[in-house]
Symmetry: C2
Subunit: 183 residues, 2 copies
DNA sequence: ACCTGAACACCGTTCAAGT
DNA sequence: ACCTGAACACCGTTCAAGT
């Protein structure tokens, strides 16, 4: 496809909006008021909506690079010893989903909701989880009754716990992984 | 102290407000709009605020009986075999904290925040958790590194998971408890 | 092609006036 | 002693007008 022509001022505005949104989401979570975001970026509120029709579209743009890195990590882990690889993957996802308050919920919802701008990314996370879990199961590194849904539920639960205390989230993962992996 | 005289219409209004709020919280979570609650109860919005200065006060009133039942359950469990009793207590708390969407967060916040109308109830839950965990530890039914905070974190995480899927929450508890209890 | 910002909608919360 | 509901504040979202 031909390179999309984008007016230089529009490109700059998008950059400034993303910077401001990242700061706001880090501080107040994914539900942060958007009018201050636009003001902080030096544009009118309509400009924000012009580039990002809704919160999820904004979140998707903010997470794009991070998600690429996460998927690359998952691909690399697929070549490593299956038990520790699965544990490392779960910890990586839980840490990622705690980047912004409310992100764990947003990602959990994106799994089911095909209309979500985050759905494709969530589907890739699920696919990687299934792949790493299959490896672990084949190596008898995980109990046979553990399902991909179990792993995803643990991940989002740990991400949510992390919003309150990173240490508690790690300890929750320790206990739950001990119950999921073979002794 | 002398019995507080309460005007009969005020008492009726409180009853109707609690019924309407319970329905709204069940449907929309603890963040449900309050104006429709007042309208549904047949009173003006100011009457709601007159009886309940904030959302937590309303939640506290709604949960009073349920909390009493939960504490009684905890007391009874303290007389039973310590390992299963601790597991049953965690499941009971997780189920309770999933009664309304957002309740798990509210209770977790009430633990730390002394100003919360829910703080006393949260403190009793903590005390019962500590007591049941101490019993389980004395009976060597639980791994020695499990802390009361670990148990509370698991409980709130499971309650939050329950908002999305009760079955997944139960499975999360299965796995995590397997990792916490002694084999 | 993009930006502006007024306009509309919605809800939380307070409080002066009424009964 | 309690209730009413207008009033104020705040934020999400849209869109006609402008550049």
């Amino acid at each position: 496809m031909p390179a999309r022509r984008v007016r230089a001022d529009a490109r700059r505005n998008v950059e400034k909006l993303l910077d401001a949104a990242d700061a706001a989401f880090r501080e107040l979570g994914t539900g942060a008021p958007l009018e201050p975001v636009a003001r902080r970026a030096g544009v009118a509120i309509g400009t924000l909506y012009g580039h990002f029709p809704n919160r999820r579209a904004l979140a998707r743009a903010l997470l794009r690079d991070r998600h690429d890195a996460l998927f690359a990590r998952g691909d690399r882990l697929a070549e490593e010893p299956p038990g520790p690889a699965l544990a490392a993957w779960i910890r990586a996802m839980a840490e990622h989903a705690a980047l912004y308050g409310g992100l764990a919920e947003m990602l959990a919802a994106g799994l089911d909701n095909e209309a979500s701008e985050l759905h494709d990314d969530c589907a890739r996370m699920t696919a990687l989880t299934e792949r790493l879990l299959a490896h672990a199961r084949a190596a008898r590194a995980v109990r046979p009754d553990v399902t991909p849904a179990d792993v995803l539920a643990l991940t989002t639960a740990a991400a949510w716990t992390r919003a309150q205390s990173a240490e508690q989230a790690d300890r929750l993962l320790d206990h739950a992984l001990r119950g999921m992996l073979t002794p």
